[in-house]
C-alpha cells in the first residue's frame, strides 16, 4: 500500500499491527457483516496516520474485500492517508490530528452509560500524542466520571515526528502520570498478540476506573532497516526495499 502510493507513516503503522490484530481478531465484540450493529465495541485509531494498518486489519477481518486496499492513497480513492469515517465499513470516526480520539471515545462511552448499553470503547493513541493537552483534559474527565468502559492502548514506540520522545518532551514516568490521573494501568509487549489479548480481555483492569494498556513497541517492527528509524515516519519503500521488506516479513 505504502510502496504503491508512495505514502508516509509506514513505521507508525508497523508499530501497531499486533495491537489492532489483537483487538479485531480477539477482543472486540464486532460483526463484520453488520458494521453498524448498535451493540458493537467501538475502536478509534486516534493515531490516524497509521490508517493503512487499520484498513488492512478491517479488510482481513472481513469488513470489505482486501483488493480495495490497492486503492490506498491512489488518485480518486476514498482510502485516505489518515483514518476517515465510513471510507470503508467499520471505520468509526475520522482522525489525523492528534489528541482528538480520546474525547470522541469518551463521548461514545458516556452515551453507552446513559443508554445502559454494554459496548466498550477502545482508543489507540501514541506516546508522542500524549504531548497534546486535550489527551489529559479527557483523561481527567474519564476518571472523574468513573468511565470503566473506556480503554486506552498507548502505542509506546518511543519515537515522535522529530526524534526520540525522551529528547523532545520526556513524558516519563508515563505510567505514573496515568495512574495519578485516576486510571488503572498495565503494561505489555506491544508485539505479543497473546499478551495483548489476555490483558485486553480482562478490562476494566479495576472496576470504576478507565483502563490504559501501555503497549511497548518498535517503530517499523518487522523490517530490519525500518526498525527504530525515524526516517520511516516519512519514507515509503522503493522497489528493492519493498522486495526486501516482504521477504523479511514472510520469514516471521
Amino acid at each position: 500500500m505504502h510502496h504503491q502510493a508512495d505514502a508516509s507513516h509506514i513505521g507508525s503503522s508497523f508499530s501497531c499491527v499486533e495491537i489492532l490484530v489483537a483487538l479485531y481478531f480477539h477482543v472486540l465484540k464486532i460483526d463484520p457483516a453488520k458494521p453498524k450493529w448498535p451493540q458493537r465495541d467501538r475502536l478509534i485509531l486516534s493515531k490516524g496516520h497509521a490508517a493503512s494498518v487499520l484498513y488492512a486489519t478491517l479488510a482481513h477481518r472481513g469488513f470489505f474485500d482486501p483488493t480495495r486496499l490497492n486503492k490506498y492513497c491512489q488518485d480518486g480513492s476514498r482510502l485516505l492517508g489518515h483514518v476517515t469515517r465510513d471510507c470503508v465499513p467499520g471505520v468509526e470516526v475520522s482522525t489525523g490530528s492528534l489528541g482528538h480520539g480520546l474525547p470522541l471515545g469518551i463521548g461514545m462511552g458516556l452515551a453507552a452509560c446513559r443508554d445502559k448499553k454494554s459496548y466498550r470503547t477502545f482508543i489507540v493513541i501514541s506516546d508522542g500524542e500524549c504531548n497534546e493537552g486535550s489527551v489529559w483534559e479527557a483523561a481527567m474527565f474519564a476518571s472523574h466520571h468513573k468511565l470503566d468502559n473506556i480503554i486506552v492502548i498507548i502505542d509506546v514506540n518511543r519515537l515522535q515526528a522529530f526524534g526520540s520522545t525522551r529528547d523532545i518532551i520526556d513524558m516519563e514516568p508515563m505510567a505514573d502520570k496515568w495512574r495519578s490521573f485516576g486510571w488503572a494501568v498495565r503494561q505489555a509487549d506491544g508485539h505479543d498478540v497473546k499478551s495483548l489479548a489476555k490483558n485486553l480481555d480482562s478490562v476494566p483492569f479495576e472496576k470504576g476506573k478507565p483502563s490504559v494498556l501501555m503497549a511497548h513497541t518498535v517503530k517499523g517492527k518487522g523490517v530490519s532497516f525500518m526498525e527504530n528509524q525515524l526516517a520511516w515516519h516519512y519514507r515509503s519503500p522503493k522497489k528493492d526495499q519493498y522486495a526486501q521488506a516482504l521477504e523479511e516479513l514472510d520469514r516471521i
Binding site: 482522525t95 474525547p103 470522541l104 469518551i106 463521548g107 483534559e137
Partner: protein, 314 residues
C-alpha cells in the same frame, strides 16, 4: 436572550430525551434549573473546551443532540480544530451556543470580546450560523437548530431588542431574513442586538425623507441571497452594520453576493475596525467609540446618499 435560551432549552429537553447539554464551567445562574431537572443529561466538563467539543461529537455520533455552551471565544476559538474535525467533518448534531456577542463583555477586554467568531464559524463547511436579535429570534433559533441537520452556531447576548416589527406573514426561518420594514430608497441590513441602533438610524433617515428598508439578517450562514439581490434591484444603496470586525462579518457576506449581482448598487459596510480594543468601557461606550455610533453612521449614510442620488434609480 439568555432567559429565552434557557426556557427553550428546558422545553426542548422535555420533548427529546436524547438532548444533552455540556458547558465549559460557565452558565452560573443559567443552568441550575436544567441541571436539577435533567442531571443525567447535563455535564460541566470543567475548563476544558477541546475535550468538551470532542465529547459532544462522540455523544452526537451515538445518537444524541448536544448543546454546548460557553463564552464565545472559548467555545469557538479555543477548540476550533475540534469543531472542524470532530463536529463539522462528521456533520455531528452539535449545537454550539456562544454567550457575549460582539462587545457584550465590554470592560472585560479583548480576551472576552467576540469580534471574529462569525468569520471563523462561517468558514466551516456545513456550519449554520445564527445571531438572534430578539427573544423570539432566540426561541425560534433554538427550536429550529434542533431540526436543522448538522452543526449550528448560535451567537447570544444577555440583552436583546425589546421591540419587534415585521411585515405580516413573515416567520422566522433559518436562512430566510426578516424584513422588519419595507422601503424603496435605502436598505439597512444588520443582526443581533445592534439592530436596536440600526432601527434608530432608520428613523433618522426617514425623518430626512428617505424610504428605508430594514432587514434582520439573523442567519449569517446560509445567507439569504435573494433578499440582498432584491435590495440591490429595488433600492439605491445598501448599508450593513456588524457588531463584529468588518472582515468576516455580514458586510463581507453581502459584498460577496453583490459582486456577482448584475444590479449596480452603492454599498458600505459598518463594523468594528481590524484591531483589538484595549480601552475599558461598557459595550455602548465601546460601540460608540469604535465605529458603531448611530448618529455618526447616519451622517455617513446621508453623505453617501447625496452622491448616490445624482445617479439614483428611477
Amino acid at each position: 436572550m439568555r432567559s429565552a435560551f434557557i426556557s427553550m432549552l428546558m422545553a426542548l429537553a422535555r420533548a427529546n430525551k436524547d438532548l444533552y447539554v455540556l458547558t465549559g464551567d460557565l452558565g452560573f445562574s443559567v443552568f441550575e434549573e436544567f441541571q436539577k431537572a435533567y442531571p443525567k443529561r447535563f455535564f460541566d466538563v470543567g475548563v476544558a473546551e477541546q475535550n468538551m467539543m470532542g465529547i459532544a461529537a462522540g455523544l452526537a455520533l451515538s445518537g444524541k443532540t448536544v448543546f454546548v455552551y460557553s463564552i464565545i471565544p472559548f467555545v469557538t476559538m479555543r477548540c476550533f480544530e475540534q469543531i472542524r474535525n470532530d463536529i463539522c467533518l462528521h456533520q455531528a448534531e452539535v449545537k454550539i451556543v456562544g454567550m457575549g456577542a460582539g462587545l457584550h463583555y465590554g470592560p472585560a477586554g479583548p480576551s472576552h470580546h467576540a469580534t471574529e467568531d462569525i468569520g471563523i464559524m462561517k468558514s466551516l463547511p456545513g456550519m449554520t450560523v445564527i445571531s438572534p436579535a430578539t427573544r423570539e429570534d432566540t426561541r425560534q433559533a433554538m427550536q429550529q437548530a434542533v431540526k436543522c441537520k448538522g452543526p449550528v452556531y448560535i451567537r447570544l447576548a444577555k440583552t436583546q431588542m425589546d421591540f419587534e416589527r415585521k411585515l405580516a406573514g413573515q416567520r422566522f426561518r433559518i436562512g430566510k431574513a426578516l424584513i422588519w420594514e419595507d422601503g424603496r430608497d435605502v436598505t439597512l441590513i444588520s443582526y443581533g442586538r445592534i439592530l436596536h441602533k440600526v432601527a434608530m438610524m432608520k428613523d433618522m433617515l426617514k425623518k430626512k425623507g428617505f424610504s428605508v428598508r430594514l432587514i434582520n439578517m439573523h442567519t449569517l450562514k446560509p445567507l439569504d441571497q435573494k433578499v440582498i439581490v432584491d435590495a440591490a434591484r429595488e433600492t439605491s444603496a445598501i448599508f450593513t452594520v456588524d457588531e463584529h470586525n468588518i472582515s468576516g462579518g455580514l458586510g463581507t457576506g453581502v459584498a460577496e453576493v453583490l459582486a456577482q449581482c448584475p444590479d449596480q448598487v452603492f454599498f458600505r459596510p459598518f463594523g468594528l475596525p481590524d484591531g483589538y480594543i484595549k480601552t475599558a468601557g461598557q459595550s455602548e461606550y465601546l460601540q460608540n467609540k469604535y465605529g458603531l455610533n448611530e448618529d455618526e453612521m447616519t451622517k455617513t449614510i446621508l453623505r453617501d446618499l447625496n452622491g448616490v442620488r445624482r445617479v439614483a434609480k428611477v
